[in-house]
């Protein structure tokens, strides 16, 4: 990547130059970004995640190199705005010694991760861990692929790998002035087994990491193409809106359904221990339905809990013995006046597809479903799969669609081809998972 020029002080973010290069065949926009000395990688597509099939030119689970030199890099984490969709491919590309303009990012398949013993590691996207916990193995994936490409070229030339170098998407044997592009030797490299994994770069060797590059998810976020969890649509989808007991620990006493009389599209009212849901053929009809119910709750032991008590509980916690890690500023003063509220704008939502064809649907790669926010917490899929199994469903395809968690918004979920009771039950669990994390049994996170 010798053509990458250092970014000077003048070439700051605001001075980026961009050009539109054309319109894609699909009618979408193909955007080209002109960054000083560095052409952008391709924008992310609206596809939710990669095809699970292993291609012959797949160097490892992370990298596929096509004969036309397009390099597909699998992104393990969901893109929720923090930039994983750009930073994760950068970490791989840094080691691969390739042309950033040839990079195409795609989301790694959680299905494949389950099937192949966590080949994509912990895909959960939480706690600002998208780079912090994955940089090492992403760099390693790139370094490993580079070493195998070099070995593959060396084998073809019958020279030692140490005599060859990887540069800008090609392996060179300078002594004999020979060159293979990555595309030419990708299939060979996919069969190479290394005796020993290569070392990864240290920060002083970085060429790409640290450069302010345009985000690859921007183009699909300015034209409505980006598919969020809530945008998932498949044939025969039904929608459930749920009202949970406003007090944790309370239960449902009774429901008067007379308000639903004459309303269109209502499929079922589902009563649960501590919630009630209305399943309908349209989101609005489901919400209107649940709002039309007259619900009586037994608030239970938490009935008298109020904000003042909760605040006191937290303050008491701060009074317990603590270790002083840092002491600067006026922490106590700030805490006294802070009004911090953190939640996203989008409503909590989930999508489930159940039944005999669910696994076949997985194989198709979720063509119609949520993309940038395709599966925020894949490890929880196991939890719901177990639940589905107990409910006599043969398989389950489930995604946490709540990239944006809004506790104030009415949670709803879309369910395709399954029992309404299950839909409502999942909705209830989903809501409680967000509002009361401790209610959910801990789910083992693969390491």
């Amino acid at each position: 990547m010798g053509h990458i020029e250092p970014v000077t002080g003048q070439d700051t973010l605001s001075r980026r130059k961009f050009i539109i290069t054309g319109v894609s065949a699909a009618g979408g926009f193909a955007l080209g970004f002109a960054f000083p000395g560095l052409a952008s990688a391709r924008p992310l597509s609206a596809a939710p995640w990669s095809n699970d099939a292993v291609a012959s030119n797949e160097i490892n689970a992370w990298i596929v190199i096509d004969p036309d030199e397009t390099i597909t890099i699998r992104i393990p984490h969901a893109e929720m705005g923090q930039g994983a969709g750009t930073s994760n491919p950068m970490l791989v590309a840094e080691e691969l010694e390739c042309d950033w303009a040839k990079i195409k990012g795609e989301f790694a398949s959680p299905n494949r991760n389950v099937r192949e013993n966590n080949v994509y590691k912990d895909q959960n996207t939480v706690g600002s861990r998208g780079v912090a916990t994955s940089w090492q193995y992403l760099q390693q994936a790139g370094a490993s692929a580079r070493a195998r490409l070099v070995q593959a070229a060396a084998n073809r030339w019958n020279v030692a790998a140490s005599e060859c170098v990887a540069e800008n998407g090609a392996v060179l044997h300078k002594a004999s002035n020979r060159r293979f592009t990555y595309g030419q030797i990708a299939a060979d490299a996919s069969k190479i087994k290394l005796d020993k994994e290569p070392e990864i770069k240290s920060p002083d060797q970085f060429k790409l990491i640290g450069k302010p590059l345009p985000r690859l998810d921007t183009p699909v976020k300015v034209n409505g193409e980006a598919k969020f969890g809530i945008d998932t649509k498949v044939p025969d989808t039904v929608y459930a809106a749920i009202m949970s007991c406003p007090v944790v620990g309370g239960t449902l006493a009774s429901v008067d359904e007379s308000g639903l009389a004459g309303k269109r599209g209502i499929i079922k009212v589902v009563k649960l221990k501590d919630a009630v849901a209305v399943v309908a053929d349209n989101t609005w009809r489901a919400m209107e339905g649940v709002n039309a119910l007259k619900i009586n709750w037994n608030y239970g032991p938490g009935a008298n809990t109020d904000s003042a008590q909760m605040k006191q509980f937290y303050r008491d916690g701060l009074s317990e013995p603590m270790v002083e890690a840092r002491k600067d500023g006026d922490a106590a003063g700030v805490l006294a006046i802070s009004r911090y509220l953190h939640h996203g704008i989008g409503p909590g939502n989930r999508f489930h597809r159940l039944g005999a064809d669910a696994s076949a649907y997985d194989e198709q790669g979720h063509g119609e479903c949520g993309s940038l926010h395709h599966c925020r917490l894949p490890s929880l899929v196991d939890h719901f799969a177990a639940f589905a199994s107990a409910s006599s469903f043969s398989s389950v395809s489930s995604r946490f669609c709540s990239a944006f968690i809004s506790l104030s918004a009415l949670p709803y979920l879309a369910v395709s081809g399954c029992d309404a009771m299950y839909a409502a039950s999942c909705a209830s669990r989903c809501l409680r998972a967000w509002t009361m994390p401790k209610v959910l049994k801990p789910v083992s996170v693969p390491v």
Binding site: F18, T218, N223, G344, I345, G346, S406, S408, A409
Partner: protein, 151 residues
């Protein structure tokens, strides 16, 4: 039966007249670029244009916009695919983070520029769409950039 003209295309829909435009767009027509945020016309994630005016589609009954020209984020670019100056400015400034509110932000900004081709910062503050990622600084820059491009 309600007839909606969305992005130049006519849709005859067998739905209730009081169904909010948002849900007709998303669940009946299948245009999911317009987002559901609060459902009470506060956050602006559902902003679309009705006869060129920005409206919160979550709170507009379809009966009230029947036959009017509705434009969603999917129809903002010109027919040949050329991005609207606001969309192009959004790309240039790399505005979105999570992106959920951005369809609404872009539609609100496009409507503002139609009304005020050279908006002041105060004019821009008149847009009340919420962005929980806090991209407001770049939104402001992008609107000024779009205004400069148009001029």
């Amino acid at each position: 039966m309600v007839t909606l003209k969305v992005n130049g295309k006519t849709h005859a829909l067998d739905i209730e007249g009081e169904m909010p435009l948002l849900w007709a767009l998303r669940d009946e027509i299948g245009l999911t670029g317009t987002k559901f945020g609060c459902g009470i016309a506060q956050c602006g994630a559902c902003t679309v244009h009705v006869d060129g005016v920005a409206m919160r589609s979550c709170s507009v009954p379809v009966a009230s916009v029947a036959g009017k020209n509705i434009t969603t984020i999917e129809g903002l670019a010109s027919a040949d695919g050329k991005l609207h100056p606001v969309q192009a400015a959004w790309v240039a400034e790399d505005v979105p983070q999570c992106g959920y509110c951005q369809s609404g932000q872009i539609m609100a900004a496009a409507a503002l520029l139609k009304e005020k081709p050279n908006p002041t910062d105060a004019d821009i503050n008149g847009i009340t769409n919420i962005c929980r990622c806090g991209t407001y600084i770049r939104i402001r820059r992008a609107i000024h950039r779009a205004a400069a491009t148009k001029a």
